[in-house]
Every structure is written in C-alpha cells, then in structure tokens.
C-alpha cells in the first residue's frame, strides 16, 4: 500500500458461532469456547456426522429488515456491518455516498432460502417456485443489501472467491482506499451454513467427525461454520482528521493462485508462499518483522501440512519461533466469512497484545513443525500480523495487518 494513503480499519463487527460482538468473540477466542453443536438448520440424517458451528439465535433489528434483500447470509452480513459502522462512527459519511465501496466476499452466496424451499420436496427436482428462491438471490444480494441500508451509490462489488473470499474483500477494499478510488470502503465476509456445502465437504472426506484440531496430531478434518464480519476502511489522514480511532492498518495484500488443482493445495505450498511474500513486499517488511500469523488452519491433514511448509519456507531465516495459530478450532470453517473474521481476530490480537491459541490441540504433528500456540493464549507485543486464507480454485490471499503508529497494546 502507498505511504500517502494508508488504509486504516476504523470499525469492525462480527457475528460468529462463538460470539455475536467483538467482546464476546474475543473472550471466546481466549477462553476456548467452541461453537460446535448438532446442526439445527437442516436435516443431517443422511450424513455420517451432524456437527457444525452455527450462529445461535440472533435478533435482527426491525430497522434492518427492509434492507434484507436475501436470506440468512444477508442477515448475518448486515448485522456485522452495522456493528462495524457503529464502531467507526462513519454512518453520516457513508449515507448516500457515491465515494464509498462495498466489497463482499462469499462462497455459496445466499442459498439457504432455496434449501429451505427444497427441504420438503427432495423426491423431485426443483420446480420454478423453488428455483425462484435461488435465482432471486444472486451472489451480489448481500452487497446490494448493504448499499440499500446506507443508500450507497459507489462501487458495490462481490467477490465469490470461495474460502478466501473474506480476505479478498478486505484486501480489495483496502487497495481501493489506498489507490484513492474511494474515500471509504466497507469490506464484508459472510456465509450461512448450507446443506450443499456440508454434503460437498463430506463427500471430499474433509469433515471431522468430532472436533477441529488444526496443526494437531490425530486431526481428522474441518467443521463447517457460518457467520459474518465487516470492517470499515478509510485513509489514515481522513480517520485522524475526524478523530476516529484507528484500530489497525492494512499494510499489505498478497494474492496468488496455485494453478494446480481445483480443490487441493499445491503440494509445495508455492501459492501460499507467493501470497505471503507479496503481502510482505507490499508492506515493505521483512519476514523477521512479522510477529504472528493467523493461519488458514482448517484442520485437514493436507491443508495444515502444506500451510506449515509454506510458513517454514517464507520464515526459514527468521530467528526464534514464529507463533502461528488457527481460530477454526472454535469457529469452524466459516468459508466466505472466514478471511474477514480472521482479519478481525488479527486486529484484536494486535490491540490486546495477546495471541489467540489453537485450541483442541492434542500434540505435535512432526509434519507441521510450527509453533501453533497450543491451547493457551500467549501475551506478546504485536506490531505486524499476517492473516492467511486459501480456497478452492487455488485462490490464496495474505493480509498484512499492522498496529497503528504509536499504538501500544492495551
């Protein structure tokens, strides 16, 4: 990102299986409160396992209802956005703005209404009424709902880049601000747990039958989750001018593509290495400047092994051990939301000077060989954090998030 315009995060919001606001989310990350439970939103009787990480009962304020153009995914997105905008104190700037971007990342989009319509009719193909629930809620419905809420007439972009989509949203939004294309941006990652994704990941053999144990020996796979996160991004000069608190800075956004396999990672982690390296280069930092990595860490055997290998390759010359943890043990894999939620977790770590641990860890996997901060939060002054996200299609994104200048962890 350029020096003249540093894209700063001035507001954050989360709605997750482990907390529906920043405080409860952060507390859960530190205390190990896990979001997994038997799935309630669809029938799992045909599956080996019925565990997932759902957002428990949430309340949608009446003021938001007219702007929910879609279903559950849209509701989660709006709840996260209102938190973020509220914290940033930027609502008056956003309202009716043609200089604001809304950038939304998602994997499946808003398919839950379609699934609900179909639930009672699985003995026949979808009819026109059921298809209307899918066709009427295309991928951009969440972004349009956010724009509707604030009357935004700037750029509304949806990036359906699978499980890296939330990180793409943050990075693209930050780049738009940094390059002066917009004066502020709202980045959103959102996903509602869907039967479709549950079936797909089950078929791929990626699902754990019990718990998600990233980087651990005896890990057996991922748990699917749902949720949303949002961040408000604006230039540091503008934020300081209006007296907004700068929570963190997006100093780098590294992108790459494996160009290898549609669902599996490159065996040498080439794309992951490239994404991390590019994020560091954009932030003009050396590997030794990074204090912590918030990993993609899904808990599958292959993904964790390859991500560990990539981290070891990028940080091979760095003295000491670099802490690397994954919050997915608690949240599950929130797919399109994950990258944005994890960016928020990274900024909270920067602010608190505490690394959220990798919970459910049973012991070291020699094939990983990283310090994954097992089962116990770790206090450490943090200046720069990398947040990794990887996806189907070989999409890789690494965000370099920094504490604001002059900040010290509280």
């Amino acid at each position: 990102m350029t020096d003249a315009i540093r894209p700063c995060i001035t507001g954050m919001g989360v709605i997750t299986p482990i907390g529906q606001d920043l405080d409860s989310f952060w507390e859960a990350l530190l205390t190990g409160r896990c979001g997994s439970a038997p799935i309630r939103s669809f029938d799992t009787s045909g599956f080996k396992s019925g565990i997932g990480c759902e957002v428990a009962d949430y309340t949608l304020p009446a003021s938001l209802r007219p702007h929910v153009l879609g279903g559950r995914c849209t509701e989660l997105a709006l709840l996260a956005v209102t938190q973020a905008v509220g914290q940033s104190g930027s609502e008056t700037l956003l309202r009716g703005s043609s200089e604001t971007a809304v950038v939304v990342g998602t994997t499946m989009g808003d398919v839950t209404r379609f699934e609900q319509e179909r639930a009672a009719h699985t003995d026949r193909p979808a009819d026109e009424r059921e298809l209307a629930a899918l066709v009427g809620q295309p991928l951009d419905i969440m972004g349009r709902s956010v724009a509707s809420l604030y009357g935004i007439t700037g750029l509304v972009m949806t990036t359906p880049t699978a499980c890296a989509a939330g990180a793409y949203a943050v990075g693209l939004a930050a780049a738009m601000v940094a390059r002066g294309r917009v004066t502020q941006a709202i980045a959103v990652g959102c996903e509602a747990l869907s039967r479709l994704a549950f079936a797909g990941f089950t078929r791929l053999g990626a699902m754990s039958p019990d718990a998600c144990r990233p980087f651990s020996r005896e890990r057996r796979g991922l748990l699917l989750g749902e949720g949303a996160a949002a961040v408000v991004i604006e230039p540091d000069t503008a934020a300081r001018r209006r007296g907004a608190e700068i929570l963190g800075v997006v100093d780098g956004f590294g992108l790459s593509c494996d160009a290898h396999h549609i669902t599996g990672p490159h065996p040498e982690g080439a794309g992951a290495v490239a994404a991390m390296t590019r994020a560091l280069r954009e932030g003009r930092l050396a590997p030794s400047d990074v204090d912590y990595i918030n990993a993609h860490g899904t808990g599958t055997s292959l993904n964790d092994k390859v991500e560990s290998l990539a981290v070891r390759r990028v940080f091979a010359g760095t003295p000491g051990t670099l802490p690397v943890s994954s919050i997915k043990a608690l949240t599950g894999h929130m797919m399109g939301a994950a990258g944005c939620v994890e960016a928020v977790a990274s900024v909270l770590a920067l602010r608190h000077g505490v690394i959220p641990p990798t919970w459910n860890w049973l012991g070291e996997d020699p094939e990983c060989g990283i310090d994954c901060v097992p089962n116990q939060p770790r206090e450490k002054p943090l200046r720069h954090v990398l947040s990794n996200s990887y996806a189907f299609g070989g999409n890789n994104a690494s965000l370099l998030l920094s504490a604001p200048r002059g900040a010290s962890a509280s």
Binding site: E115, T122, D123, A147, M157, L196, L255, C257, G393, N395
Partner: protein
C-alpha cells in the same frame, strides 16, 4: 501518492479470445453483428399446457465441444461456464508464451456464477447417498471454479479473482483487471467474463416478466418485451503499452478509463434511473478528458427491457445526443442475447473490431424503432466509419453500472 481515482490507466488490449453463438473470433462476432441475424430461434409451438411448459427462446452455442480447445483429462467434469471460460482463454495462451505464467493474473466476471451446478448438485444429493455424489460437481458449485479452471489449464498464477455484478460482471472484471495491472500485481491480466445458458434462471425470469415472452424482443425496439437469454465467454489480454511494445504484441485498443457505480433505485424503478446512467457516462468522459463529440460509437447494454432500455436511451441522448455528430449506437444483445458475465466483454470485442474494420454494425433483423425513445443514431445497416473512441456500457437490472472508454491505437490497422 495517489495513482488514480478510478481503474484503467495506461492499458492496452493485446489479444481477444471469445466463444459465443455468433462466432469464435472477434471477426466472426463482428460479421454476425453486421448481418444483424439474431442467434436464437423462436421457441417451439406451445404445447397444450401453455407457453410456460416450453424452454424460453435462447441463444446457445451449438455443437460446442470442450475437447476442441483442451486436451486435458477430466475436462468433461467442468461446468459449462468453466468450459466456456477455458475455451475463450485458449486462443490467448499462444500469444503469451513469452510471459512468465506467474506474471499473468486472471479476473473473471460471472453473473450467475455456478447456479446450474448448484441446482444439479442439490438434486444429486437428493437422489444419491452422499458417498456417491460427484465431488467434482461440488467443486463446480463454487463460483470461482471457472477462473480456477482457467488458471489450472494455462498455469496463470499471479492472482485469480472472480467478481459478480449481474450483467455488469464482465465489464466490472475488466475495470478491476486494469486496476490490478496498473497497481503492478501482474505483467499481463486476463480479464473478461463468462456465463453458460441457464434455463433455470430463464424460466424464473420469464415468469417474473424480465425475460421476453416474445422471441422477437430486440433492444430499443418498439416490440421489446424483455431479454432473450444467451451464453458465451470473452477474455482479453491487458497489459501496459510498454509491455506490449517490448513483446511485440499488437495493440488492438487502448483502455482509457472505466467507471463503476451502483444505483439502488434501479431495481425498483420502472424508469430505470436514466440520470444515474447519464452521470456515469459524463463522469467517464470527464475523467478521460474527452468530450461527447470525441466519441464515435456507444456500445449499449440494452437487452430488450422496456424500462431499462428507455433509461439507457435517455441517458445516451442526454450525454451524446441533440446535435450533429452524435455517436452511433449499437446494441449487440439484439443478436447475441443477454450473456450476462460475457456481455460487456463481447461488447468490447465488437467495439475493438469496429475500430479495426472501420465498419460499425447496424440494427438487428426485425428491428422497429420505438417512437417513444430519443432519436439515437442506430445505423439501419452496417456503416463504414472510423471509430477513434468508443464507450461501452454495462448495467445490471439490479443497479450495477459500469462504463469503459476505448480508443484506437497507432498500430490499430497493422493487424
């Protein structure tokens, strides 16, 4: 320092790859547009059950076989959108052999994403035990699969981005691609869009009145009653002029500027927000330092929507009309149908080829002017004319607006 307020800086188009019902090259596409021969056939006669029981009229790519484009095993498991995207990318690969694959990025726009795969996979999960469902079909339910398949096939790995903004997706992808290029994230960006024919969506859109009830519906025409569905893919190689010159790549057109906006009211407004479209076009001109009289061609997004086409016509008239020398207006969807993610890129391909051929397509067969629309200069037939600058517009029914300005290059006629 601030590099640019909007995407698309100094960027040239050096190659085009496309597949559409109208052809598999820019020239083939342009020829079909000049013939004005729509690519769809009327629906078969309605059975006793009524018109709702037959598939809507649509322009599909007949005889498409991915094996003509790819020799990779497993290509049959790709969704049709993925296959179309790979087919459009294939002709570009040959011209990029001197560029490192890790220096080539991809931005693909898709309006419907993987909707047909979602419907197919959902049904498979209803009819088969989970252990028997096709995992590759699941992979194709994720909307970045087409861009991912292109990267796997050709090894392009600088970045891989998918964007979705309805019928404006492809043009939005090109705008973002040009921005990523000027930010230095790749040496060459492959940008464009793809969408396969989608009868699930078309049936729903016909029921709600968005898709045409009459296969004679044409953009800006008196008889328009909605869109006709289509399919296709169209991708461009974008790079800096310096890169193109260094490689000896032909500079087919210069991408001078792009504007992206959203108009929440468009979704609900029958009038279609002409003011918002006009403001976008004026902003594009202002940003590139050109005036309305500098533009010889506007390639419209009009799809046969009664309200949307009216708004677009009024916007074009407000910015470009009212005096001699107003630009010609071409509406490719009158021949191609609404191809969603591919529509904006196909419109750019039409503009680039019009620049090269110095020939601008005219009205599609069966077109009858709507006396209630402003008097746009829609040529009655192909017109010989030099196009120095062209504006390409894309708008989605839900309010996404994108406009791109192209200029001819010095070696425009060398190719």
């Amino acid at each position: 320092m601030i590099e640019s307020r909007e995407p698309a800086g100094d960027c040239v188009v050096t190659a085009v790859g496309l597949i559409a019902p109208a052809g598999r090259t820019s020239r083939g596409l342009h020829d079909r547009l000049c013939r004005g021969d729509p690519c769809w056939r009327p629906s078969p006669a309605s059975p006793p059950g009524g018109a709702e029981d037959v598939e809507p009229a649509a322009a599909s790519i007949g005889g498409f076989n991915i094996k003509e484009f790819l020799d990779r095993r497993g290509s049959k498991d790709l969704s049709r959108t993925s296959q179309l995207a790979c087919a459009a990318a294939a002709p570009l690969a040959g011209g990029l052999k001197d560029v490192a694959p890790e220096a080539i990025g991809i931005v693909l726009g898709t309006g419907w994403g993987s909707l047909p795969s979602v419907v197919a996979f959902e049904w498979e999960t209803c009819t088969l035990p989970v252990r028997q469902v096709n995992p590759l079909l699941f992979a194709e339910t994720v909307s970045n699969a087409p861009a991912g398949q292109v990267s796997i096939q050709f090894g392009w790995s600088a970045f891989n981005l998918t964007v979705s903004s309805g019928a404006a997706s492809g043009l939005a992808a090109i705008a973002e691609g040009s921005d990523l290029l000027s930010a230095g994230r790749a040496e060459v960006v492959i940008a464009g869009g793809a969408d396969a024919i989608n009868f699930e969506a078309l049936r729903v859109l016909r029921a709600e009145g968005t898709a045409a009830s009459d296969p004679g519906s044409l953009p800006f025409s008196r008889s328009r009653s909605g869109l006709i569905g289509g399919e296709g893919a169209c991708l461009f190689a974008l790079e800096s002029p310096a890169s193109a010159r260094a490689r000896g790549a032909p500079e087919l057109a210069r991408l001078r500027g792009a504007r992206l906006r959203y108009t929440p009211e468009m979704d609900a407004s029958p009038a279609g927000c002409p003011d918002a479209v006009a403001a976008l076009l004026q902003d594009l001109l202002d940003g590139t330092g050109l005036g309305a009289r500098d533009i010889q061609l506007v390639v419209a997004s009009a799809c046969g929507s009664p309200g949307g086409d009216r708004a677009e016509a009024r916007a074009i008239d407000a910015v470009f009309g009212g005096a001699p020398g107003q630009p010609m207006v071409v509406a490719p969807k009158g021949v191609l149908g609404e191809t969603w993610g591919a529509s904006g890129p196909l419109a750019i391909a039409a503009a680039v080829e019009s620049m090269r051929a110095r020939r601008v397509p005219g009205r599609p067969r069966g077109f009858a002017p709507d006396p209630e629309l402003p008097p746009l200069d829609i040529p009655s037939g192909p017109r010989e004319a030099r196009v120095r600058n062209a504006v390409v517009l894309a708008r989605s029914g839900a309010g996404h607006l994108v406009a791109v300005l192209l200029s001819e290059t010095e070696d425009r006629h060398a190719a």
